[in-house]
């Protein structure tokens, strides 16, 4: 089973994932680092703002570092929960650019079930909302659950 997540109301999704998990299965959790959001900041700030590239890059770096840290902490807490409850849990953090490799694994049937938690929130960059993985899933023979901000939106058995 594979869990991909955004941070929006994640607790409920983690709970559900563990409920679906059997002792024979392994839960692989992947935090996808959304680099587009902080990357869109320098452009926005330098176009409408007052200070230059260094300041905007500073902001981008701070935000990226924070996202990475949050991802690592969340993954750690899921690992700890898995260990405590006696499940096999493997955790990993990837950049969004690494999604094609993940898609390949999904196509090759590496996972029995897929769980994704998206957020409906919108932001400056249209790229952030480009959930191309949705179209990809339609052509895939795998059971999946898609959550938006912790609420189950689509399910395929």
């Amino acid at each position: 089973m594979l869990l991909l997540f955004s941070f929006a109301s994640l607790d409920k999704v983690i709970e559900d994932s563990f409920k679906l998990l059997t002792k024979e299965n392994q839960l692989q959790v992947i935090a996808v680092l959304e680099e587009e959001l902080p990357a869109s900041l320098p452009k926005l700030i330098s176009q409408i703002g007052f200070l230059g590239e260094k300041v905007t890059e500073d902001v981008k770096e701070i935000i990226l570092k924070e996202y990475k840290k949050r991802g690592v902490e969340t993954l750690k807490s899921i690992s700890a929960k898995g260990m405590e409850e006696g499940y096999q849990v493997k955790v990993e953090q990837i950049a969004k650019t690494a999604l094609p490799n993940l898609k390949q694994d999904l196509q090759q049937g590496e996972f029995s079930q897929l769980i994704i938690n998206y957020t409906r929130d919108q932001f400056i960059s249209k790229d952030v909302l480009a959930y191309e993985i949705d179209d990809f899933l339609e052509g895939l023979d795998i059971s999946y659950r898609i959550y938006y901000d912790g609420k189950l939106a689509t399910e395929k058995q």
């Binding site: 941070f7 929006a8 109301s9 959001l37 902080p38 900041l41 926005l44 700030i45 330098s46 176009q47 409408i48 703002g49 007052f50 200070l51 230059g52 590239e53 260094k54 300041v55 905007t56 500073d58 902001v59 701070i62 935000i63 924070e66 996202y67 840290k69 949050r70 957020t119 929130d121 919108q122 932001f123 400056i124 249209k126």
Partner: protein
């Protein structure tokens, strides 16, 4: 949806530009004036849609002025040499120094540590720190400078992004403080200077640094008071203690040690510059002081050129110079007079009602586009209408520039919002409700000040 709207604005703008250029000449409008209206429409669509960088739109505007026969080449380029541009240049260099030397962060920590007693007081501290710093440096630099500090606070308190109400409030206080404080002086946002530059080019009236504060201060003060009341009384605080955050702040202050010699030297330059802007502007023009301050920071080795190159957004200079040239060409060709007499004269509003509509219109516009672009677009048209009603152009300038800085909800209009939002601690939906409340409060504050305070200090609505 945004992409379609953007395309619509660009294509609509180009079609309108060509249509106005090619349409037969209406009575009373010269060819040059008609072309200047067409050019303004084109620039307006490009500034709103951000199809090309704002600065490049301004450059396009400057070259199209002589190409379309609106003004002579020399006259068009001369409009770029506005003293407001030189003030901005000096202020940018000084602000870059405050950011680069760490003086800004030090000031922030010094103010914040006085408010570390309770969760609500810390929020007040962030709001005030942000607002005060925005009086001496650009609001987005303030947000950029405070972001790592607020993130440290949020982490030390183990606040969960998107879930903790206190987490949301920390970042919103930072952004809103910067936005509110940013309208107080020329330094918080260069749109204030852009507006003053336009006033000077169109009416030959100057507003000094001190005068601006004299006109503006009640609005940010009222908004800050109400914002604090909302934070103190109305919002739910979901933590009991900020002891861990206080310890983090104190540890950070200790690790910074004493002020460096560069910080001390820069502090002295800043005090001297602020003193001159406030009290000596009748003897030394504020643009001269600004450049002198910038030169001093190099002379006493506070900053070096290659540092400043990276910290300054040079495109802003081009954007402002071009915006002033495009807007002024409307006046010089008589286009604004024609618009007043042929189009806007049919509006049947009382001057005060017109002003309050102008303020809310600018506020709404600036939620979606850069506030400098909002000022560049609205102000020339507002002057045209203001001339019909014989409204004091200073009042028109303030009624566009002050509300034009108050974008509280969306990340697109104001960099502090974008920076706070990118922290990931809140959703747009969390902020829209409060943003709308703040917008209404700001509108009310503007109305009160325009109706009662400005006449009290001798600034009459009608000429």
């Amino acid at each position: 949806m945004f992409k379609r709207l953007k395309d619509f604005i660009i294509i609509g703008g180009i079609i309108l530009f060509l249509s106005v250029l090619l349409l037969p000449q209406p009575e009373g409008l010269t060819v040059a004036a008609k072309s200047s209206i067409a050019l303004f429409i084109l620039c307006l669509s490009l500034w709103i849609s951000n199809a090309i960088p704002l600065a490049i739109t301004s450059l396009l505007g400057i070259i199209l002025i002589p190409l379309l026969g609106i003004l002579e080449l020399d006259e068009a380029f001369a409009l770029f040499g506005n003293k407001a541009i030189f003030f901005i240049l000096g202020a940018l260099i000084l602000a870059a120094g405050i950011y680069q030397t760490g003086l800004g962060s030090r000031i922030a920590f010094s103010i914040l540590k006085k408010f570390g007693q309770s969760p609500r007081k810390l929020l007040l501290g962030i709001l005030l720190t942000s607002a005060l710093l925005s009086c001496i440096m650009p609001e987005h630099a303030v947000a950029a400078l405070l972001l790592p500090i607020i993130l440290e606070v949020a982490t030390s308190l183990e606040l969960k992004p998107l879930e903790s109400n206190y987490g949301k409030l920390l970042f919103l206080s930072m952004a809103w403080g910067a936005i509110i404080g940013g309208i107080t002086t020329f330094l918080g946002g260069a749109r204030n200077l852009l507006a003053v530059g336009l006033l000077e080019k169109n009416y030959d009236i100057s507003i000094g640094f001190f005068e601006w504060i004299k006109y503006s201060w009640p609005i940010p003060t009222l908004i800050l008071l109400v914002t604090y009341f909302i934070i103190a009384k109305l919002v739910k605080i979901d933590i009991d203690s900020i002891e861990l955050a206080r310890e983090t702040l104190e540890a950070e202050i200790t690790s910074r040690g004493a002020m460096s010699s560069k910080e001390k030297k820069l502090m002295l330059v800043l005090i001297a510059v602020l003193f001159s802007w406030l009290f000596l502007s009748s003897i030394i023009d504020i643009a001269i002081t600004s450049i002198l301050g910038a030169v001093l920071t190099f002379a006493i080795q506070v900053v070096e050129w290659h540092d400043i190159e990276e910290y300054v957004n040079w495109g802003v200079i081009l954007m402002y110079g071009g915006a002033i040239a495009v807007a002024t060409s409307l006046v010089r060709t008589g286009a604004t007079n024609w618009l007043s007499e042929a189009v806007f004269v049919h509006l049947n509003l009382s001057p005060f009602i017109f002003l309050i509509f102008l303020a809310i219109f600018t506020m709404l516009l600036t939620e979606g586009i850069s506030n400098a672009a909002a000022v560049a677009i609205v102000l020339p048209l507002a002057y045209s209408i203001g001339d019909i009603y014989q409204i004091n152009p200073i009042i028109i300038t303030l009624s566009v520039a002050l509300p034009g800085g108050l974008a509280f909800s969306l990340p697109m209009g104001s960099p502090p919002n974008a920076i706070a939002y990118s922290s990931g601690y809140y959703r747009i939906s969390d902020v829209v409700k409060f943003g709308l409340i703040l917008m209404l409060i700001s509108w009310l504050a503007y109305m009160l000040v325009a109706k009662f305070y400005w006449p009290l200090i001798g600034l009459k609505i009608l000429i």
